[in-house]
Symmetry: C2
Subunit: 315 residues, 2 copies
C-alpha cells in the first residue's frame, strides 16, 4: 500500500460515526478545520503525548489494538486532568517496515475505540517511515476553567478517582505470563485498556484547586502538584492500601500493594486537591504547609521521594 | 538532567519574548490553555507533522539547530497551505540516550528561531525516551476561510510561491560535500533553513480555489489537488525551468533542473489554483478538464506521474 492508500484505509478505520460539533474538515487535507463557535466553552486545552515502542510498550506484551487504545488514552488523560471535555485529536505515526498494513489497521481500530469512548474523533494526522514504531497523539479539549497543577492550598484534601498501581500489577502479570490468574484480571485489563477519567475530570473542574493525572506513578505526579503549588502533600497509607482490586493483585504477585500504589504508573487516575469531597473521588491524604511529599502511616509521618517512572533517570 | 530539569531547560530555550494573544498557560502543566475569544478568525486549522532521524534528516548532514528549525517549518507549512495564520505549537520529542542535553538545547533553539519567524510560540509538548530521535510538531492556526486541496476548477491558473527543487539540490550538495560552491549556496540554505510561506498563504486565502504546500515534490503534491478536485493539472515546462537559482544549482550539480523542480521536496513552496494572478505567485501551468497531471513542453503535452518523495513506496 502506498501512502495515499494507507491514509484512505486509516480514514476509514478511524472515521467516526458520531458527528462532532465544530469539525468542518477531517482526515485528508493539509490540516483539519474546526469551527470555533460551536465548540462551547471559553477556553481550549491542548496536549500532546507520544508512545514509543520499547519505552512504552512491547509488541509481545500488547495487541496492536491495545497499542492504539493506550496511546490515545494516555493523551486524552491530560485533557481530563485539566477538567476539560475532549473535543478531537490528531495522531502522527512513525512506522517501521515490519509493521504491515493489517497491523496498522489494528492500531487504528484501537485508537478509534478509545476515541469513541472519549468522545473525541481523530480528525487528521501524519504518517512517516521510522526505524521504530511511535504514536504521537495531540488532543484538543474545551472548558470554561482549566484546573492546573498549581493551586493546591494547605487544608485541602487529596482526592483520587480511579486506581493507582493496578496497571503496574497488570504489566507485571503480563511480563511473567500470569494473565490466566483470575485475581489478576482487573490488573491486566487496567494496563491493556486504561480509561482516561474525563467524566471525573469534569466533575472536579469547578471545585478542585489543583489536579493531575497519574501516568508516571502517584508519588511522582503528585510531586508535581506539590512543587507547582509550593505545598507539602501527605499521603494516607491506610487509604492507599484500601483498594480491594489492588490488594488482590498484589497478593497474587507477592508484592507490596503500597509500592504499587505509590510508584506504579499508567492507570491514568486523577489526583486532585480540593477543600471538599467530590463525587467519584476518595480521600487519600491532605495538603499541608511546607514542601515535598510525606507518607502518614501507623508510625507517624515520614518523607517520601517523588520518584516514579522517569524516562530519563529512573528504571 | 532528569525529566523535570530538561523541561525547565526547554521552557527557557523555547520561551518566546513575544506575548501572543490567547495563550493563557504554556509549558509545564498537563496541557496548554488557550483563550478562544482573543484569537480572531472564525476557524481553527490544526496539523501535525513528524520528522524522524534517518528518514527526514541525518545528524551528519544538519546541525541540531537545523534539525529543530526544519521540523517546525515542515509543520507550520501546512497552516500556510490552508491560508491561515499560525497561532501556537506543541512539540513531542523522542530522544535516544546519545542526544545529550546540550544537543537538545540546540534543537530547541532551532525550533524557537523558526517559531519566532512564524509568529507561533511553542506552548507545550512531551519528552520521551526512544531509540531514534523524532520530533512531532502540532500547530494551530486561525482563519476565516480555509483553502483546501479540493476546489480547483478548469480554467484556473496554477500558481507557485517560492522555489521548487532548490532544497533537493541543496541536500544533494550537502551529501556530496559541495557546500563550499557559491552557486549552490541558495540551494543549501533552502534545505537547511526552509521557510513556511505564511504571508503568501494569507495573501492567497481569499482568492485561491485550492492550495497545497510542496513538501514531497511538486508533481506528487499537486497530484493531490488534481485528485481531490477531480481535474487535470498541466505544468508549463518553460515556467518550471524559469528559476535562475534552480538553474544555477542544477548546472553546478550537473542534473536536470526540471527533474528537481517536479520531484524534489522540502522547499515548502505553495502551489495554488486561482482564476486570477496573486501577488507573490508566478504562473506555472493551468487546470483543465480531466484527471491526473501533464507537462506542456516544446513537443506538446505529455502525461506525468504524480510521483515524488513517498515514505512508503518511492526512493
Amino acid at each position: 500500500m502506498d501512502e495515499r492508500a494507507r491514509i484512505e484505509m486509516l480514514a476509514h478505520a478511524l472515521g467516526s460515526g458520531v458527528k462532532t460539533a465544530g469539525i468542518e474538515l477531517g482526515i485528508g487535507d493539509d490540516a483539519a478545520v474546526l469551527e470555533v463557535g460551536t465548540r462551547g466553552g471559553e477556553r481550549i486545552v491542548w496536549t500532546i503525548d507520544e508512545q514509543v515502542e520499547g519505552t512504552h510498550f512491547r509488541r509481545d506484551l500488547a495487541s496492536w489494538q491495545d497499542v492504539g487504545w493506550r496511546s490515545f488514552m494516555a493523551a486524552v488523560s491530560d485533557v481530563a486532568a485539566m477538567g476539560a471535555r475532549a473535543w478531537c485529536a490528531l495522531a502522527a505515526l512513525a512506522l517501521p517496515d515490519d509493521v504491515d498494513d493489517a497491523s496498522l489497521e489494528e492500531i487504528a481500530r484501537g485508537q478509534r475505540a478509545a476515541a469513541d469512548v472519549a468522545g473525541a474523533p481523530i480528525v487528521g494526522g501524519n504518517l512517516a517511515r521510522g526505524p521504530v514504531l511511535s504514536i504521537a497523539t495531540t488532543v484538543l479539549g474545551a472548558c470554561d476553567h482549566a484546573v492546573r497543577r498549581a493551586g493546591a492550598r494547605p487544608g485541602d484534601g487529596l482526592w483520587l478517582a480511579g486506581h493507582v498501581g493496578l496497571a503496574a500489577a497488570g504489566l507485571r502479570a503480563i511480563e511473567t505470563g500470569r494473565t490466566g490468574d483470575a485475581r489478576l484480571a482487573p490488573a491486566v485489563d487496567s494496563w491493556r485498556r486504561p480509561r482516561a477519567r474525563l467524566d471525573d475530570g469534569m466533575a472536579m473542574s469547578a471545585i478542585a484547586h489543583a489536579a493531575i493525572d497519574v501516568s508516571d506513578g502517584l508519588a511522582r505526579d503528585v510531586g508535581h502538584i506539590a512543587a507547582a503549588s509550593t505545598v507539602r502533600v501527605v499521603f494516607d497509607e491506610t487509604a492507599l492500601r484500601g483498594d480491594a482490586a489492588l490488594l488482590e493483585a498484589a497478593a497474587a504477585l507477592g508484592v507490596d500493594a503500597l509500592e504499587l500504589a505509590l510508584y506504579g504508573g499508567e492507570d491514568y487516575a486523577l489526583a486532585v486537591a480540593s477543600p471538599i469531597p467530590i463525587a467519584g473521588f476518595r480521600s487519600i491524604g491532605y495538603i499541608s504547609v511546607g514542601a515535598g511529599l510525606a507518607l502518614l502511616g501507623a508510625d507517624g509521618e515520614r518523607p517520601l521521594e517523588p520518584r516514579g517512572y522517569d524516562h530519563f533517570s529512573a528504571r
